[in-house]
């Protein structure tokens, strides 16, 4: 690959990440504003709200931490609760691990900071990120951009807190964005099953404290879809084809014929 081609490829991945990120950032903006407003209007303070965006980068855990801090909770209680609320990141990290496997050490230690619901969903929706350098550029652009937008919008929310009216528009944007990300996964039978079971369990287990209901919902959805997938003969064949196609795609992407790998993976994805 010539220097010009390499430069064009780099710009392509950055542009793709920016294109994927723009609607996500737009959808998350009201949620980030809400965190800034909540911090500024509570005893936790505007500074804590912005700092939580820098350090935690996860809306539900931030809201939980700010609420607990405002109520004067002990350090141990706040840390434990935040860890439980963010336990789903453990699952996201496990799913994203293949993309991090052949990366430099600095990236494997620092870049997981951007593991959060939208970035995970963005990567899960792409089939062209098998090449490590390509994934690295995509991840740093999407994750870094998301973090910057999130922090900026939290700060804006804190500044505007005295003049912003109380509106449900701030709370409805985040679930609407998750809904938009969910819909493409509903084309596959296993995806529909995982989603329905998770939604039902989330409602049934809503009384559990500290995000445990959400965690139980995710686990129930994943387990049910996995078991159902294992029981269906055609899906077994499909999953075998998937792993074959994926490994073909990976090895092809490692060599120069990236487009072949992408089309193989895309064909397989639509088949499944």
């Amino acid at each position: 690959m010539s220097i010009t081609e390499r430069h064009t490829a780099r710009r392509g991945e950055v542009a793709t990440a920016v294109r994927d990120l723009a609607p996500v950032a737009l959808g998350l903006a009201p949620f980030a504003l809400l965190i800034g407003v909540t911090g500024a209007r509570s005893a936790a303070g505007a500074g804590s709200a912005v700092l939580s965006s820098v350090l935690l980068l996860g809306g539900s855990a931030q809201l939980t931490a700010l609420t607990l801090l405002a109520g004067g909770a002990a350090t141990g209680a706040v840390v434990a609760t935040v860890a439980v609320v963010n336990a789903r990141f453990l699952l996201y990290a496990a799913a994203l691990e293949p993309h991090f496997r052949d990366q430099p050490a600095w990236f494997r230690w620092l870049a997981p900071h951007f593991v959060v619901d939208p970035t995970y969903a963005m990567v899960a929706g792409r089939t062209d990120l098998d090449d490590p350098a390509r994934f690295r550029r995509y991840w740093l652009t999407a994750g870094g951009g998301l973090a910057a937008a999130w922090i900026a919008m939290t700060a804006l929310g804190a500044v505007l807190a005295p003049v912003l009216p109380a509106s449900a528009a701030l709370t409805v944007a985040a679930p609407a964005m998750f809904l938009a990300m969910l819909v493409p996964h509903l084309r596959a039978r296993a995806g529909r099953l995982a989603a329905v079971v998770a939604a039902v369990v989330a409602v049934a287990a809503a009384g559990l404290p500290d995000g445990l209901g959400l965690l139980a919902a995710i686990a129930a959805g994943v387990v049910t879809a996995t078991v159902a997938d294992g029981l269906t003969p055609t899906s077994t064949a499909t999953s075998t084809a998937t792993s074959t196609a994926t490994s073909t795609a990976t090895s092809t992407a490692t060599s120069t014929a990236t487009s072949t790998a992408t089309s193989t993976a895309t064909t397989d994805r639509s088949a499944s």
């Binding site: 935040v82 996201y92 449900a168 939604a199 369990v201």
Partner: protein
Amino acid sequence: MTLLLAAVATHGLRTVLITLVPAHRLPALLRRGLPHLAPAALAGLVATALVTTSAPSGPAVPGITYAALAVAALVAWRSRHPALPVLAAVAVTVVAEVLS
């Protein structure tokens, strides 16, 4: 200091299956479940938001939020565009609040 400790715990959750115990060493059964994670997590997040909204101490009027999310679901299904459902949900909420 509390937020810093919470951040360390969160970063641990994010890195442990990437850097310390890579997920490809997990049992095959667990790895088979990972592709189903995205729909389960996203549906769980939406359902949790709906339940939180309908709680007595919830932040919004449930009827408005349900209507906004129903419109968002319809727009998402028809358009497959990630921004349009959000704009539709916010627009429905703002209009409903102005009218009520």
